[in-house]
């Protein structure tokens, strides 16, 4: 049994909860810092990254989230969640949580009318993942420890750095739970490693 939280300050929380529900997974909607304590993994959902960061600061989530990542607990960010996890942001001095060694450009495709869906190959998951991009960010560069899981037209859209996963699209908006299952597997793997140490 693993316990996975979805950070619920703002955004598409319910969709992530639905995508995570599976045998052996307990899903928690996280609104308070204390709830982070007994989690095995955490999802940072899509939403508005500016809004989420403000609420993260307001409720003192910033340091506890960084500590959560430092403790080696798995995290999975989609869209705004990916922006929060990036070490560097194009045009900004600092990143937010700086969990994954990557440089991210916000709203990289343009405005909402440029939002789209496309079928993608995602390494280790499948070659037919329907990816929904909504005012999506792009990963412009990654550090050497970062594994590229997927590209769209030559640009990086999904990555993994050890137990940290991030993608610029929204697997939670489709009925296909394979990306979430992949994250659940990472969480299970990480938890069993910790138990064996």
């Amino acid at each position: 049994m693993v316990k996975i939280g979805v950070l619920a300050l703002q955004g598409a929380v319910r969709e992530h909860v639905n995508s995570l529900i599976a045998p052996g997974v307990e899903v928690v909607v996280v609104k308070k810092i204390e709830q982070l304590n007994d989690l095995d993994g955490l999802v940072l959902p899509g939403g508005e990254s500016t809004t989420m960061r403000r609420l993260i600061d307001k409720y003192g989530f910033f340091e506890p989230l960084k500590a959560f990542a430092k403790a080696g607990k798995p995290m999975f960010g989609t869209c705004a969640g990916l922006i929060l996890m990036a070490k560097q942001l194009v045009g900004q001095k600092d990143g937010h949580l700086e969990v994954i060694d990557m440089e991210v450009e916000r709203n990289a495709f343009g405005r909402q009318r440029e939002s789209f869906e496309a079928e993608l190959m995602v390494k280790g998951i499948a070659d037919d993942i329907m990816a929904v991009f909504i005012r999506a960010p792009l990963i412009k560069a990654v550090g050497e420890d970062v594994e590229i899981l997927s590209k769209y037209k030559g640009e990086i859209v999904a990555v993994r750095q050890n137990q940290f996963l991030a993608c610029s699209f929204h697997p939670e908006l489709t009925a296909d739970a394979r990306f979430h299952q992949y994250f659940v597997d990472v969480v299970k793997e990480t938890k069993s490693k910790c138990l064996n140490v």
Partner: protein
């Protein structure tokens, strides 16, 4: 295979706004205050609803300069309003790159019979509704987001509450119906049968449903969330209050933590005066914006 403007992309955009506050702004400076306060989007307007009400006359789409200015000032999505049925205003907003269009009763309708066929557009639309029939008709036309109409520009929450309660109770009724009862319900409510079927299957509206039209305080915003809204539009409430920055922040927080009453008590302290507000019964029926559209 790459597709823009699909249902998933348009409705998904609204899903990302959930739990958030969308604020009316009339210039770049207000837009920045809204973004800084944690708004998930701004609605760029020439005048907020209470000023539209006061000014009278015909209210139209705002000057494109205002949308441009606001889009240049913030990185959160920018919405704008067009008149009900005004195909060209909608196309202009789409061409400008506005992220979401509100086909809104706050402006003077351009067409008293037909709403826009919103499926023809790549840009998503939000529309007002007072009950499930109206919501379902707009969804049938292609709206990707619904909001209660309430009574805009009054600072009086009573109509938004009426509309949200009505929709929620009608949804509960549909969920309790057997499928063979749905066609009669479609006839009685004027809702397209297919949308009722989607509601029954999904257990909820197939699109996000926000509250709008009268939210003036943090407690109002939290009330609408408690009644089942996915998020809140605040029109005149913020920039017609004494201290817009503080008000904007407080409304954002009350929306996030709508069940944390101690927190809402704290953030309601010393906010200054909310907008003045209008008693609905003092409005002549012809002054009620919610009666516009069908």
């Amino acid at each position: 295979m790459v597709n823009t403007g699909t249902d998933r992309v348009k409705r998904g955009m609204a899903e990302m706004q959930k739990g958030g506050v969308i604020m009316d702004v009339i210039n770049a400076e207000q837009a920045k205050i809204a973004e800084e306060a944690g708004a998930v989007a701004v609605m760029a307007l020439e005048r907020v609803p209470s000023d539209i009400r006061a000014a009278g006359g015909v209210a139209r789409m705002a000057d494109p300069t205002i949308m441009e200015e606001v889009m240049g000032a913030v990185s959160i999505p920018v919405m704008a309003k067009c008149r009900i049925g005004h195909i060209v205003e909608a196309r202009i907003l789409e061409a400008m790159g506005v992220d979401y269009i509100d086909e809104s009763e706050v402006l003077t309708p351009a067409d008293e019979v037909y709403h826009l066929y919103k499926r023809d557009f790549t840009v998503p639309f939000v529309c007002g509704a007072r009950d499930i029939g109206e919501a379902a008709r707009r969804i049938g036309e292609g709206a990707s987001m619904i909001r209660t109409k309430g009574e805009p520009g009054t600072g009086n929450i009573v109509e938004a509450v009426r509309h949200m309660r009505m929709m929620q109770s009608q949804i509960r009724k549909i969920l309790g119906m057997s499928t063979d009862e749905l066609m009669t319900e479609a006839k009685n409510t004027g809702a397209p049968f297919e949308v009722l079927l989607q509601i029954k299957e999904a257990g909820k509206l197939p699109v996000v449903n926000f509250a709008a039209g009268g939210v003036a305080t943090p407690a109002d915003a939290a009330l609408m969330m408690q009644l089942g809204a996915d998020g809140v539009f605040v029109g005149s409430g913020i920039f017609k209050s004494d201290n817009p920055e503080k008000f904007a922040r407080a409304i954002v927080e009350a929306t996030t933590h709508f069940e944390d009453y101690e927190l809402i008590a704290n953030l309601s302290k010393g906010l200054g005066t909310a907008m003045k507000g209008i008693e609905i019964s003092s409005l002549d029926p012809s002054e009620r914006m919610q009666e516009r559209g069908w």
